[in-house]
């Protein structure tokens, strides 16, 4: 029997993976070939999708950008035994883009069948949970604290400290909520993990529950991710059947129930308190903090809220020990970061590496520069609320503090590359426009400031009283930064100010105006 892997990741589907998988099966049946098509996750080399892999004695051989039309000729070329063809890459794991990575969180994504719990276990799954079950909750929390793991959603708050607060808060009910409302443009790591290795997230959430004493878990997924929702629901059903979830986790005294909740098209619901409101069935209006959700969270109960990438790092930390995870990275940014290369980039996709690689290495060496072949003008890191950085920032090492020092923000680790055709005044205007569109409306700086921001930028670009309007924009940005309830209004000035600072000419600013 020959195993053929065709990814079921949305990115692969968007390039025709379902049709390719069906065509391979049809050809196999028609020609009496013993072929099993396995739907794996994606390896993260997205420019090669659909990337079909054939298992051979030497390892898995990859065929890139396979289309339905090519199946007959690939069959004729003997691809089921790794035969040569223009689209043949050789061994997938020997590809430079892939082999130079440090895959910890994404270790199984693209390798295994996402819905096979046997596959999951034979590739190191459940080891962390078994370790955790045998430990005192305080020890689990200490392990996560010692690993140096920080919130991968963007805020970078130490996960162990958050967990410790929930652990030490008395309550009849506690919750673990996973924030899978991955709305930042340029980010797709959460989606790929949920579609490609959902049991890792489930295992991480169970460990979090055991650590803090929570028995209920919720995953809040955006509605734009129908495939991830589908895979997660299937995985949770399998986890229930296998007693991974339920009244006795793996036969232990611990209980943990898990449920998927779906968003309804609101970016601000990725903000943790708006997410809680949405989980309670209400409008996604941001809550004022304090109290923090670790003390007063879902339905007023102590709640751990972590991003998908944070929770998915936990099983490996428990399995291999805090010091193993902690040994990667630099300064206070420990472990690995799952970077996402997006936008106008030659080799876009997932790059998991220890913190510390420079921005330039990531974009140019790993990503190969722009897809258009034109020079890079700017990159936006960390989503719509992240700063634009120019090529003078190539040497900045990727880490929470180092990026902040360079005027940027790591956020969720998404990097959007733009070539020299981009107009930065348009990008700044879009940042304000997006904020106006998605603001929950609770606080004035965000709700009104964003609309005024669009108008002021328009006046600057039109050359109307530039000095005065620049001063006004600066004042507005200051009010939004300092006066907004959450990051939506608070960080929108980041892309606006950085665009203006780096590329004033795009705003039509005459020299001497600022």
């Amino acid at each position: 029997m020959t195993k053929v892997f065709v990814p079921m990741d949305s990115a692969a589907l968007s390039m025709g993976a379902n049709e390719v998988a069906a065509s391979i099966s049809q050809h196999a049946v028609k020609n009496g070939l013993d072929v099993t098509v396995i739907r794996n996750g994606s390896r993260g080399m997205l420019w090669l999708e659909p990337l079909v892999e054939v298992e051979t004695e030497a390892g898995r051989i990859g065929y890139a950008n396979v289309s339905v039309d090519q199946i007959p000729e690939l069959m004729a070329a003997g691809w089921l035994t790794g035969g040569s063809h223009d689209s043949c890459l050789g061994l997938v794991e020997e590809q430079d883009f892939f082999k130079n990575q440090t895959r910890i969180t994404f270790a199984r994504v693209g390798v295994t069948d996402p819905l096979s719990i046997a596959d999951y276990e034979s590739h190191g799954g459940l080891k962390g949970l078994r370790t955790a079950i045998a430990m005192a909750p305080e020890k689990i929390v200490a392990e996560v604290t010692d690993s140096g793991l920080r919130g991968r959603g963007g805020a970078g708050f130490p996960a162990g400290i958050k967990w410790n607060t929930v652990l030490n808060t008395e309550s009849d009910q506690k919750y673990v909520c996973c924030n899978a409302d991955e709305g930042d443009s340029g980010t797709f790591a959460d989606r790929m993990l949920m579609e490609g290795d959902p049991f890792t997230l489930i295992e991480g959430m169970i460990i979090a529950g055991i650590a803090v004493g929570a028995t209920e878990g919720l995953i809040y997924v955006r509605s734009e991710y129908p495939h991830a929702i589908d895979v997660l629901n299937q995985a949770i059903a399998i986890a229930n059947e296998n007693k991974l979830l339920g009244t006795s986790v793996l036969g232990s005294k611990f209980k943990f129930n898990l449920e998927v909740r779906v968003g309804a098209g609101s970016y601000v619901c990725g903000e943790e308190t708006a997410m809680l409101e949405s989980l309670e069935g209400k409008r996604g209006m941001v809550r004022a903090k304090p109290p923090i959700p670790a003390l007063v969270g879902l339905f007023g109960k102590p709640t751990v809220i972590n991003n998908v990438m944070t929770l998915a790092a936990v099983p490996m930390i428990l399995a291999d020990g805090a010091s193993s995870y902690q040994s990667f990275g630099m300064d206070r940014s420990r472990g690995t970061q799952v970077f996402q290369l997006a936008g106008n980039i030659l080799r876009g996709g997932i790059v998991e590496l220890p913190f510390g690689i420079t921005l330039g290495e990531l974009v140019n060496t790993v990503g190969g520069g722009t897809r258009s072949g034109r020079p890079v003008k700017t990159v936006q890191i960390g989503g719509p609320l992240g700063a634009y950085l120019g090529v003078e920032s190539w040497d900045v090492p990727m880490g929470y503090e180092s990026l902040a020092q360079a005027g940027g923000m790591l956020g969720h680790g998404g990097i959007v590359v733009f070539d020299d055709t981009v107009n930065m005044a348009k990008q700044a205007r879009f940042a304000m426009e997006f904020c106006a569109e998605e603001s929950c409306g609770k606080c004035t700086p965000c709700r009104i400031g964003s609309t005024r921001g669009v108008e002021v930028i328009d006046r600057i670009v039109a050359g109307e009283e530039q000095s005065k309007n620049l001063e006004l924009l600066e004042d507005l940005c200051e009010v939004m930064t300092d006066g907004s309830l959450c990051a939506m209004g608070g960080l929108t000035p980041l892309p606006v100010r950085s665009a203006l600072k780096l590329f004033p000419a795009d705003f039509g600013i005459k020299s001497g105006a600022k």
């Binding site: 997205l46 709305g183 443009s185 129908p226 779906v262 936008g343």
Partner: protein
Amino acid sequence: MSNYSEESILNYLGPYKGDASAVLRSLQVVQELLGYVPDSALDLIAKNCNVSRAEVYGVFTFYSDFRSTAPAKAVVKVCVAEACQASGCASLISELHDKGYDIHKGTVKADIQMEQTFCLGNCALGPAAMVNGAPIGRATCEKIFAATKAVTA
């Protein structure tokens, strides 16, 4: 409510009876069933969840997913966020405009509804689009209309 009686909808909402935290999920159930949320369903949900109609209306209007009228046979979502801007979604949007579809306004024409969206999570293969939930990478007019043809035929 087209093919569904009030009674049968209440059946689907059964698990949420008396649950004030189930307003959003109730709206999602109705939209899943009917393709949109008719005005009368707001009263039904309010009664079932034991909250005021105003509260249900507030939730209904907050989230951009909800519709008050039936959708076209093909609903196309075109990403307009940064990563797709970097990948040239502007020219795709203007081509669609030339064909009579303004995605910013959600034009409906020939059983096709074109809408803008902010990020579909396919940011390395932009411009990204989605037709009735099926993703399209490196989207072109050609690819989009091939997909809509398949669902409107």
